[in-house]
């Protein structure tokens, strides 16, 4: 009886195991269809030779050809621009279709190395950071394409932000990415509330700006709306970096961001900037619950009329115009002294091509198309809110006058003429934002950190990360 039941159990176990194995076989057989995507795989060897082909290509431009191409792409969730551009591209080049996956920016930071290293790497991807990927050979060298398409002649200094030299320092060297557009940051203001505190024109110096902040506080208004939750990343880095640019030259800041040897953020002028920020915090210019405010909450609260000013980038233009139509203005952060230079955080919306990409030529062609095609440039401005860059003779898309987009576009050349473009201090190393700026600025809000300590702590974290 016992033996019989054991036998039965054994038989059923075998059946179960075989069922399980066949179930496990599911995914295995499911990989078979990927073999049907063999055309992609068979094209891979071509792709690995692509940079070489591109450098030799001066005779003919890389294109998407006429055969059907499926471009594999990774985009950032919540930003419509690349999706709209992809749609328009397919309209113009029907042989190109898209296989797009998307993720939050914070997740892209963590997943991108594995995605790039996989055998199924995307052709085109939004890059959260670059240096370590380039060092590991995961990103395609775009110098050949730059020569072929003439990118090097474009009057866009931001192109340099995507170059990395042999020592892993950004700012010069090999081109590893392109910007879909070039964003600009500064101060947005609620026109109605600004009128209430007697602001008739944008402030010309930091002192003028600070007197407006004080007036807003006295009037019982929220002077600045800003986010500060660790989940969104520290919004206070925006006003801090603008203050740094107001009190000191931008070059040392860029050197620090690019990882130049011996660069430090702990400089006398940066200390003055950090002290001003500390005063703003103590004066109550930021919301009392700033350490719990998410990015989207801050944008929504400003849109509802809470906050006279907010520091943000032109990617938020469409959102502000929708929430407060015709009632949002923009100005560049004023310099410390009247007549001083204007500077702003201004970074490309960086997209790269994986070293293992199956269709690098087509991906590069797309990047070139984004900057040079009129329809693409129009989408760039209307949806992305930012300057599309591109060659100097490219037509500038028209925008509705009086819109905040018109104001940010007009501010771009002003900043450019002063040579004041800075990358974001958050981009210096892959986790300086999450591990350095964010916790230390939150501590400053909580009264647990002062200006000098902030810069020292961030510099220590920076050196620790670079030493890895």
């Amino acid at each position: 009886m016992n033996k019989k039941s054991v036998l039965w159990s054994l038989v059923s176990l075998l059946v179960l195991t075989s069922l399980l194995l066949s179930a496990c076989g599911g995914p295995a057989t499911a990989t078979a269809p990927s073999a049907t995507e063999a055309p992609v795989v068979t094209e891979a060897p071509v792709s690995t030779e692509a940079p070489v082909a591109a450098t030799e290509i001066s005779a003919g431009m890389p294109t998407c050809g006429t055969d059907p191409v499926v471009l594999k792409a990774t985009f950032e969730t919540g930003f419509d621009l690349p999706f709209k551009l992809a749609e328009e591209f397919t309209k113009q080049y029907p042989n190109v279709t898209w296989d797009i996956s998307q993720d939050q920016f914070a997740n892209l930071i963590t997943s991108t190395p594995l995605v790039l290293a996989s055998d199924n790497a995307p052709d085109l991807l939004r890059l959260p950071t670059m240096v370590s990927f380039a060092k590991d050979g995961l990103l395609m060298d775009l110098d050949g394409y730059a020569t072929a398409f003439g990118w090097n002649d474009w009057p866009v200094p931001q192109l340099n932000q995507n170059r990395i030299d042999a020592d892993g320092v950004r700012g010069s060297g090999t081109l590893y990415a392109m910007g879909l557009n070039y964003s600009l940051t500064g101060v947005f203001y609620n026109k109605t509330l600004a009128a209430q505190i007697g602001m008739t024109e944008p402030p010309k110096t930091v002192a003028e700006f600070e007197s407006l902040l004080a007036a807003a506080k006295t009037a019982g208004l929220q002077p600045i709306m800003m986010w500060g939750s660790a989940k969104s990343g520290m919004g206070l880095a925006f006003p801090l970096q603008q203050l740094m640019a107001a009190y000191g030259p931008v070059e040392p800041i860029n050197d620090w961001i690019y990882g130049k040897a011996g660069a430090t953020i702990d400089t006398p002028t940066n200390l003055i900037a950090a002290q001003h920020l500390e005063q703003w915090i103590k004066a109550g210019y930021f919301p009392s619950d700033i350490n719990a405010i998410e990015y989207t909450d801050a944008a929504a609260r400003f849109g509802k009329g809470e906050g006279v000013f907010t520091f943000n980038g032109d990617w938020q233009n469409a959102g502000y115009d929708a929430a407060l139509p015709g009632n949002v203005g923009f100005f560049l952060m004023p310099p410390a002294e009247a007549g001083g230079k204007f500077a702003a955080m201004s970074a490309p919306l960086t997209f790269g091509i994986a070293a293992k990409a199956a269709h690098p030529d087509c991906a590069a062609f797309f990047l070139n198309w984004v900057a040079t095609n009129d329809a693409a440039r129009q989408i760039d401005v209307a949806v992305g809110g930012s300057n599309p860059g591109g060659p100097s003779d490219a037509t500038m898309p028209t925008v509705a006058s009086g819109s905040v987009t018109a104001e940010t576009l007009a501010a771009g050349p002003v900043m450019g003429a002063d040579g004041g473009a800075m990358d974001f201090i958050a981009n210096a190393t892959s986790s300086i934002f999450a591990q350095g700026w964010t916790p230390e600025l939150q501590k400053m809000v909580g009264g647990q950190q002062d200006a000098a300590g902030l810069l020292k702590a961030v510099q220590a974290e920076y050196e620790r990360e670079l030493a890895q």
């Binding site: 176990l13 190395p113 939750s229 989940k231 591990q435 916790p439 909580g446």
Partner: protein
Amino acid sequence: MTVDNNHPAALSVSKRTPASNWVRRETFIGWLFVLPALLMYAGFVLVPFLLTIVYSFHRWNGVGPMKWVGLKNYITVFQVPDLLGTIFNAFWLVVWFSFIPVGLGLVVASVINRVATGRFGEVARTVLFLPQVIALVAAGIIWGWLFSLSGLINQLLKIIGLGSITRAWLGDFDWALSAVGIIGVWVLLGFCTVLLSTGISKVDPALYESARIDGSSWFTEFTAITVPLLRHEIGVCLTVTVIAALATFDIVYVATAGGPGNATSVPGLQIYILAFSQRNIGLASALAVMLMILVVLIILPIQRLNQEVK
């Protein structure tokens, strides 16, 4: 079967060969049953576990070449205050995730047992258990709203005249970790209550009846019958909740991401940041191994206590 169980020694003496054959065969068949699960366990738990230990002695960014660094990663964990601080945060969470749910669970289970044995008791148990079936990510987001400056909790405080203490709880250095702890209480109270209720239902009702005939209060019943007879269940609750506290990740990640400052950072979150954001797999692995050792060191005495009682 009962004969086997009651007289194994006698059997092994009188019919040594056939019985040991049979035992061997039974053992073999037993292993066959376990094999599929064992393969899965080895593939998804044991191999990654061993790899983690290997990684912890290397410097590695997850893609490039690995470099042997010996114990350097372990030393770094002790040297960097932020890393060690996460372990202290985890201990404070043990109070919230473990002691409070177990203590409160005992009280709730015993109250339900005494005053609400019928449908009401079932409803109460179900409601308390609900957090177990809600995705923690969703729960974390909702608690984020509740704890916000204009959230329900602050509104309630204002209604009862405590408007002066309102704040953005998850953004406050002094309160953020305890606020995260309260989410933990909410999540784990139901689990403890249901487990302890089941334990109480196994206690001979005659014990409670005689206690009640003797006129004992709820408190006497609780201390003299419920707690002593539920030691085994309490041990299980403590084990599960202490591990939940020390290894917590999702609640903190969704509610605060470790902020403000590093006030709510816990080892689980730090391991994630080190591995995937800083791409320092070696240091992340070292912290993970240390966390595991810590969990084992704390859980083993609880388990031993539990076994002695059994």
